[in-house]
Amino acid sequence: MRKLTAVPDTSEHSPEGIAGQSVPHDSATKHVTGRAEYIDDIAELPGTLHIAVGGSAHAHAKIKHLNLDAVKSSPGVVCVVTSEDIPGRRIIGPVFHDELLLAYDEIEYVGQPVFAVAAESFEQAQRAVKLALIEYEILTPLLDVKLAREQESYVLPEHVMQRGNASAAMSSARHKVHGELVVRGQEHFYLEGQVCYVTPTEDGVHVLSSSQHPAEVQKMVAETLALPLNKVHAEVRRMGGGFGGKETQAAHLACVASIFVNKLRRPAKYRLSRRDDMVVTGKRHDFVNEYEIAFDDQGKIEGTVMSLLGMCGFSVDLSQGIIDRAMFHADNAYFLNHAKVSGYYCKTHTVSNTAFRGFGGPQGMITIEAAMDDIARYLQIDPLTVRKRNLYTAERDETHYGQKIEQHNIAEIIAELENTSDYWRRREAITAFNASNQYIKKGLALTPVKFGISFTSKHLNQAGALVNVYTDGTININHGGTEMGQGLYTKVAQIVASEFQVDLNAVMVTSTRTDKIPNTSPTAASSGTDLNGKAAQVACGKIKAEMQAFAKRYFNLADQAIEFANNQVIMGENSMSFAEFVQLAYMNRVSLSSTGFYKTPTIHYDRETGKGKPFFYFANGAAAAEVTIDTLTGEYRVTRVDILHDVGRSLSPGIDIGQIEGGFVQGMGWVTSEELLWNSSGEVISNSPANYKIPTAFDIPEIFNVNLYQQDCPVDTVYASKAVGEPPLMLGISVWCALRDACASVADYRISPDLTVPATPEQVLFAVEQAKMFKEKDSGQAL
């Protein structure tokens, strides 16, 4: 440029909003004023088409005949396509190519897309897709995971992780418990449904997508259109919630819309109605888990045998990693000793299940938590005592997949929470309350969480960033992570502000684009900040090195380093504002832009042997939940929750607390009111917010104490912080255990009644009835 901008007044003051300080979300003002732009808010270009797809009415069938005449002649319809109109790959998939973008022969779930329509308006497209005449040969659907195992209907072969000799431990055990736990899935219910807006470019297409994985959207669109990757660009500014539901699922919409854009050279928007979204996109996997635990008189585990049957749906999608992660978390925080954990990747005629915050971890973890309660009832000791006795220790530190647990802070977290939540006094009070109340019962549970951090697919543990410093001293960042509300952009901006010790308001993160940062990983596995924050830090380091070299030359400094502090650059005796220094550097032709690259060190996992060190570290926490149940109706309230959660050294306490509370409530929803149900024909019957109930403000406990356990992460993470996205969801398991505790009180705590997840009022009533029957039978025998 010819003339530099005036240097803003940046007097010496300590930087505001840097890492470690609590700051609002970077879009907070836009959120509250309605100015934060989501894809459906962007003004449509003239000629924009609206897409809808026509889906199968059956779960398993063959298409005998497809008549789309009425669809084509429906008002407003511009174009109708089927699989034959796809210029490139017709079979797609994020990991394995096993999904037809548009089905043409065999149908494998209700709602599976068969054809797509572009119309002049959203409503016209929706009306048109209902007019297809499809003749089917109806086949029997497989909808049950146990039946799938019987028939060996799998999307991938069984996988086993083992340590020692579990069967020997079983046969020599003094005490054993066993059980089967039905764990239902979960609908993401991101408030912004799936949406993309695709526009033609000179060379290809530009895709605005509500996606956690723009690089995969780019790749799958390029494959669909048979274009090279450099002609397809994907961009994401923000999502209205993701939770894993937009890790792979967004790509399908972009691929379908792109077919029309490519064919007609017109912009196209594809937005799912809420009902379609709840039917045609994948959800958290249902599981049926079987467990058998051997233990000593103290309740210490001697052997563990577990089978985890995951309902993958009709294709793999991310099920390999998800069932694996369920297996990796079958121990939660406990030493399983001699263990055999088997995973089954069951193929069913349902939508392909996908990532959801926790990624299988919750379903594995809740199973061992159920077993902990079973052991406690068997031995007649408090469940918390059993849990504490089984925690990993320096002596008992090897997981069933061979990774050694190196950080042992859960005992300390539990101890602190026992104290702050007054666990033992409340336990006594609750037991007394239950003894003197026939119809209303209370329950209490304190459960830990240990969650492994890293993608278990090693190559995904890499990230890139681009940092640009401008001549007014402001900084722009792009990185490979996407913003879905979790505050990633805010944290990365805080990291960059810290690196240069400037105010946060001088730093901005702009949209995630495949033409700025290539070959990115999904924003998933809680890794967003760990990976992208580090990459941004690396980029800053390179710019600072350039600045250092320049300052040394220009100011004739000896070996002393320049220092970034208080919005100033200090060079020995001299100092100037950051912006002044940047201008000086610019005038002296110093590069003020750099990329950064980061990969997670030390991790590995060998799927052949089921051994390795898949996790860089673990994020830990614990929650204590209290509930009150009505034994006449099964209705209940969560009355108090105390949480202590380990985020390492917090990068942004306000945002971390938000992740913990939000994760907890989402987990609480999963184990309480969110009941994902299919009917016997394979249709999702919980298909709208009228019949699928996520928690409301009323449902959260009035006493809700959430605290950070601040201890530096023992491995080299950005500013010693820990990932926080997924782990707190599993703190919600405490609510399920507390409900089961209340049900158990009906049988004077002598059994742990079966309790399906989620524990709806209906399931609670059934558990109460089971406990009542046990008590009646037991006292009958006693007489």
Binding site: P24, T29, L191, G485, T633, P689, D699, V706
Partner: protein, 478 residues
Amino acid sequence: MIKFLLNGSWVMETELDPNMSVLRYLRTKRGLSGSKEGCASGDCGACTVLIGERSKGNGSQTVKYHAVNSCITLLGAMHGKHIVTVDGLNINEETHPVQQAMIASHGSQCGFCTPGIVMSLVGLRESQTSCSRKDVLESLSGNLCRCTGYRPIIDAAMASFDVADNKNIINTTPAWSAPEQEEVAGLHTVDADYFSPTSEAELTELLTKYPGARLIAGGTDLALEISQNYRSFDCLISLSDIEELTELSEAGNTLYVGAAATYSQVMPWLKTWYPEVVELFERIGSLQIRNRGTVGGNIANASPIADTPPVLLALDASLELASTAGRRVLSLKDFFLSYKQTQLQNGEYIRRIILPKPESNAIVKLYKVSKRYEDDISAVMAAFYLELEGARIKTVRLAFGGMAAVPKYADHAQTKLVGAEFTEASVAAAISALGEDFAPLSDVRASSAYRLKTAQNLLRKAYLEIANNMSLGVFSHA
């Protein structure tokens, strides 16, 4: 033609699709994209806007603002009203106290639900000077947030009352008078019409002229036909602005509830006679739904899982029906014929609900059981009315929703109780008789076994509560 205020400015519309929702109008016709579509079914609240309405009655100059779901509120209903959206709330870039508090307490994460939450909380903040946690929860009953876990939002709502007022479009828009009107207000295209008559005389005239018209009150159910099934009605006639149909009155021992009065209008009035009913009504839909939904609509819709019909059956309500042919009064129990079928004839509408005032010895027990406390449809709704004479049961009405294809009485169980002494034994007999009264369905909300067991246990609970003069449950009411 309809004329309304939109963020402080008068707007006139004529040739717009009568099936158009306020949300679609804002987003596609006005470029106001602050209000979001999260579900298009009135369940999530992301589309919440405030509607300012002049109080009914002669010369009244007071205006009240209510939160509504713009996705299922039709634009045709906006004649004479003020739509306030998040885009137009602020004046001079000054953020509202609610917005300031939301930022300060980390009340947004993904931000998609936030505009709706802000509008719900602005509705609360602008209508009172202080608030309790209960008020906040009520104002948020129709807003879902999937990110935050609500704690910071509840905190922000409370804290907003400590933030100083500033100028916004609500507190600076003076009360307005009704727009002058030569013909019945409405929207018209070549295919379709929407009429908002203001008197029964106008309504009768329209019904004569358009015998196939669909009547719409709050539209909280009918609008789903449009937003979910993409249906297009060719003639809609609104009952909401007809003074006679929104009146609440009493005469002697009888209460008259205008069929088009919203729950929010009825509740404070009805509290004098039936506080238990008002408590139950607090669990119908969400605040946004209660601000639009009507008692008459809930009856005419004839859903077997609606909550109002069992309550009104227990209270022995009657309906006054009207049509061009005249009026008739029908006992509510005779109104429901079979699944979604009623006695209403074509062109006939419910005019008023007629309720006897409670006898001095009346006991009313109402129970709603659902997966979620707020804004959920009942698995079982039980409504019990008892009059005791000494130890003997003089009158008993046990009505249930969710147990059969229509809301109905438990005849067998009632027979066991009427005239009997109110004892554990007689109640036990009634409880087992419920098995003869009902063979409920299994569906997404509950299994048949759970429904029957719960219905039986609710009768037991009512007995325990009455006999021991206590309240038994995990919620403070209903």
